[in-house]
């Protein structure tokens, strides 16, 4: 059995960590799959899917680390007009933060429930907002 849900999320800032744990947990519980895997996948190249502890201080440290690794002011090659896009992105830090954080995560589904550690929260991490974003949750199992 394969079940899919699409979350549409409107971010509100250029950098934002948006918890989506409950949406995932709820879909897994309602979708009818008892045992299997749940994949959470972003549809974008300037967002991330992260699992971490849902504390504001941890979020701050993640944001500051990513800013140190991919600062706004750097001579990025991507800073030019893109004819295939018809626009100037100038958003290389957003792409690099997305690469660092990763685009997806997996959870075990057991007895119709999402299995996760007590400290684990799932985030859609916005690196190029504010924008409307899509996250796919696909549950595969029986």
């Amino acid at each position: 059995m394969v079940k899919l849900k699409t979350l549409v999320i409107r971010s509100e800032a250029e950098f934002q960590m948006i918890k989506i744990t409950e949406e995932i947990r709820s879909f897994i519980a309602d979708c009818g799959v008892q045992n299997g895997l749940a994949a959470v996948i972003s549809a974008h190249t300037t967002t991330g899917i992260m699992i971490n502890e849902g504390l504001e201080c941890v979020e701050t440290d993640i944001e500051e680390l990513l800013e140190r690794l991919a600062p706004k002011d750097f001579p990025y090659a991507h800073a030019h007009f893109l004819p295939s896009y018809g626009a100037t992105g100038s958003n290389s830090p957003s792409h690099l933060k997305s690469m660092i954080s990763g685009n997806s995560c997996l959870f075990v589904v057991q007895d119709g429930q999402m299995i996760s550690g007590d400290a684990q929260d799932v985030y859609l991490a916005e690196f190029d907002g504010p924008k409307s974003r899509k996250v796919y949750i696909q549950v595969i199992g029986e």
């Binding site: 409107r10 002011d73 007009f81 896009y85 100037t88 907002g129 924008k131």
Partner: protein, 290 residues
Amino acid sequence: MIIDVHTHPIFYKAISEDTEILKYRKEQFGIFKQSPSPLESVLQEMDYNGIDRSILLPLDLTTQSGGWIVTNEDVKHIVDLAPERFIGFASVDPHRSDAAEILEYAFRDLGLQGLKLNPSKQKFYPQDDILKPIYELCLQYNRPILFHAGMSWEPDAPAKYSHPLNFEEVAIAYPDLRMCLAHFGWPWVHETVMLLLKYPNVFTDTSLLHMDNALDFYKQVFKTNMGPLWIERNLNDKVMFGTNSPRFKAKRLLPALKAMDFRPKTLGKILGGNAQVFLGERGNERPWLN
């Protein structure tokens, strides 16, 4: 107060239901890999950037490619959805035989507040006689014109029509007609500066990000190609904040503009005060310029 004088509502969901029209818009404007956004997202992005109002620009290409990138009615529709946030401009293809009627309808009945013309995409020279009835209507209704000037990224849009010097005779013939030569007329920045300096009715906007990132490009154009104090000393009444969204984004241009070390008063004029003069909402504080 911040006014973005240069916004193309190409991907506003409220006017993007028809996929064929959206395809035409993308091809004619030369923009891809983006999809329609609901009005809530548009307003949220404006709020995030501190933009109070945006001027929405249509474009009539009836005789060139048989359609409009965005119609005057589309603009009116969006303005009606959030009248406190949007200022609607009209467009008209100067080559169409009913150009004057289309424009008068847009000003009188749709209540649109200015005119957008793109000499490169619409293929006309600004000083051509066919423009006379259009300019006279703008004067009659006290409406400004935002002209595309300089290089255009749109396909089939030769830059020769939009060279800044083409606008000089218009500025001379119609001294009361407020006009914006968008994009600083890039790459003819010095020619644009000459017109800004000489003609009180000529304005420009900051919607240029043709190379580099916004900070590097603004430094290059405003501080190196131009003397570093030219805007501050000579053109502080003539430059308006504009993005050319969705091609260039406010979240890139605004921080770069704020990093140019303008005096707070000058920055305030660029971000909104000069747009109010351009729109006719208030007079120029420096009457010797009028």
